[in-house]
Symmetry: C2
Subunit: 314 residues, 2 copies
C-alpha cells in the first residue's frame, strides 16, 4: 500500500506534515509505504532531524508549490512540478493508492475530478465534513461545497456515498440518513428537497429516516445529513465560527472543543476512483496523522470498490 502525501500543503508545511508522519509511524501500522512529495532537501533534513526511520518512506521531489489562493485550474496546468500535480500523477499512474494534501482545496478538487475521474454511474462526486454530536460521536454532512447547485439525483447519490463512508470508515453499522430541510414533515422543503425526499425514500441502499432541520444537525438524529453544497458550506463555516467564538470567550467545554474542525484531519472526496483526502489549511500533526489513518482505512476496507459496486447495481 502506497500513500502519497503532499508535504508542502497547509499553513505549517512541511514541519507539521513531518510530525504527522512521525505520529503515524509511532502506531503499529504494517505494510504502508509513504510517498512524501515536496522540497526534497527540506524533507530529508526534517526526516533525519526527527529520526524517522526511512525504510517505508520514499521522497519525491517537487520544485513547485501551488499557493493557497492561486486559481486551481490555472495553477494545476502551469505548475506541473508542483506537489499537488505530482501527487495526482502518481495516483493516476497507479504508483500511489491514495493522495493526501492540506494545500489549495480547489486544486485538489480539480485534480481529483480531472486526473482520477468519477466512478461510473456517479453524476457528481461530493465532499463531506464531520459534525460533532453531543454524545461524542460524529456525523457526516454531505455536500459541503463541491456542488453548489444540485439536482435531486445528486443528493440521492451523495446519500449512498456518505452512508458507505459512515459505515466502513466511521464504523456505524447502519448509518441513519436524513435530508437537511426546513421542516420535518414529508412534503416540506424547496423544490430540490421535495423531489430528493421521494428518491431517498425509495432508495433501498440507505437507511433513510426523513427530514432533519437545522436544529437536528448537532444531535444524534442521523449519521449522514444530505444537502446541496451551498447549504452545507454555509452550515460548516457557521459551525466553524462557533469554535472561534468559544475560544474568544475563553469557554473550555469538552463538546464545543470538538467544533475545532481541524482535529478531524481531512475529508475525502467521495465518488472518485481513488482515495483523495483534502486537509484543512491550518492542519497540525494530529490532522496529518488522522488523514493518513483514514486513507489507510479507505484502502483496507476497499471503500472505492464498494462504491463502484453500489453504483453498478443501481
Amino acid at each position: 500500500m502506497n500513500i502519497a502525501l503532499d508535504m508542502m500543503g497547509g499553513d505549517f508545511a512541511p514541519l507539521e506534515a513531518i510530525k504527522g508522519v512521525e505520529l503515524f509511524f509511532s502506531q503499529p501500522y504494517q505494510q504502508v509505504n509513504l510517498i512524501l512529495i515536496g522540497d526534497e532537501q527540506k524533507i530529508n533534513f526534517l526526516l533525519s532531524e526527527y529520526k524517522i526511520p526511512n525504510e517505508n518512506i520514499k521522497v519525491v521531489h517537487a520544485s513547485q508549490v501551488i499557493e493557497m489562493h492561486e486559481h486551481p485550474t490555472k495553477a494545476l496546468k502551469e505548475k506541473q512540478q508542483s506537489s499537488i500535480a505530482i501527487g495526482f500523477h502518481l495516483l493516476a499512474t497507479g504508483k500511489a493508492d491514495a493522495f493526501i494534501s492540506a494545500g489549495n482545496t480547489g486544486a485538489m478538487m480539480v485534480g481529483a475530478l480531472f486526473s482520477i475521474k468519477t466512478i461510473e454511474g456517479i453524476q457528481r462526486p461530493t465532499i463531506g465534513a464531520y459534525m460533532p454530536k453531543e454524545n461524542g460521536e460524529l456525523s457526516l454532512l454531505v455536500d459541503v461545497g463541491l456542488n453548489s447547485d444540485c439536482k435531486p439525483e445528486n443528493l440521492n447519490q451523495f446519500s449512498v456515498l456518505g452512508s458507505l463512508f459512515a459505515k466502513h470508515i466511521l464504523n456505524i453499522p447502519e448509518p441513519k440518513v436524513a435530508l437537511v430541510n426546513l421542516g420535518e414533515e414529508e412534503g416540506k422543503g424547496n423544490l430540490l428537497t421535495q423531489a430528493a425526499y421521494i428518491l431517498l425514500k425509495e432508495n433501498n441502499q440507505i437507511n433513510f429516516i426523513g427530514n432533519a432541520e437545522g436544529r437536528d444537525l448537532l444531535h444524534s438524529k442521523a449519521d449522514v445529513y444530505v444537502c446541496d453544497g451551498f447549504t452545507g458550506n454555509v452550515i460548516l463555516k457557521f459551525a466553524e465560527s462557533i469554535y472561534d467564538i468559544i475560544q474568544n470567550r475563553k469557554i473550555d467545554d469538552e463538546h464545543f472543543n470538538r467544533f475545532n474542525f481541524e482535529i478531524y484531519g481531512g475529508v475525502p472526496i467521495l465518488g472518485v476512483n481513488k482515495p483523495v483526502i483534502i486537509g484543512h489549511g491550518i492542519s497540525h500533526a494530529n490532522a496529518f496523522e488522522s488523514m493518513l489513518t483514514i486513507a489507510k482505512k479507505m484502502i483496507d476496507e476497499k471503500l472505492i470498490d464498494k462504491m463502484k459496486n453500489s453504483f453498478k447495481a443501481s
Copy 2:
C-alpha cells in the same frame, strides 16, 4: 394607534401575553390602544388579577383558537372566530394598525399574505430573524423560511426591506448588506447568488458590501444578511440549537445567552401593507412586550409608507 394582540397564541397563552401587556404599559407609552383578542372571560380575569388599567385596552372575544400544528390555510378558513382570523379581520378593515401573534406561524403568514396583501411592486414578502453579533448588536437575516425557492430579484427586494427595517427599527444609520454565499469573491456561489450579486451591486437603495460566508454571520461584517428562505431557515434553527446545547452544558456566557432567540420577541413580515409580527411559540412576557414595542415603532416610523415609496421609485 391601535395594536391588536392575539392573546391565545404561544405555549404560555394567555398568561404571558397579559404579563407582556403589563410590562408594555409600565413604560411611559402614549396614545397606544391595545386590542386584546381571545377568550374574553380569561382575559378580563387576568387583567383584573394583574390590576392592569383598562382605559387603553379593548377586549375582543374569540371563541376559537388555531392550534400550533393545524394546517394554516384550512384552519384559517374553518375557524373564522379564531383569534388569528379576527386579528386579520381587524387589520384588514382598518380597526387595527398592527397585529401581533405568537400562535401558528403558518396561519400568520397565510393570513398576512391573503388578508393584508403585498405592497405594490414587491414580488414576495419576507420574514427575517435577528442574529446576535459578538459586539452586542443585532443583525437581520432575511429570508428565514417564508420563501424556500427564490429568484435573484427576490433577494434584491429582501435586501431593501431588510435595510429599511434595520435603519428605522434597529436604528442603524446606513445598514451594511451582505449576500450569504459560499465564498467571499464576486463570481462565487450557486446560480441564485451569482445572479443576485449583480442586482445587489447595482442597487443604489442599499449599502451592499459583498458576499458573507457562514463564518461571518455572527460577526459585525454586515447588518443585513440576505439569503433564500431555505438557507436562512437552516441557519436560524442551527443557531437556535447552539443555545440549547449551551444550556445543556450549563455554560453561562453573556454572548451565547443572546442565542436565546425568544428574548427578541417576534419578527415582522416585511413587504405586506400593514405591520404584522409573528412571535416564537415559547414567547414569555418580555417577548410580548418587545413585539408590542416593535409594532409601535413600525407605526411611529411609518415603516410601511417608507417601503411603499421605496418600491414606487424603483
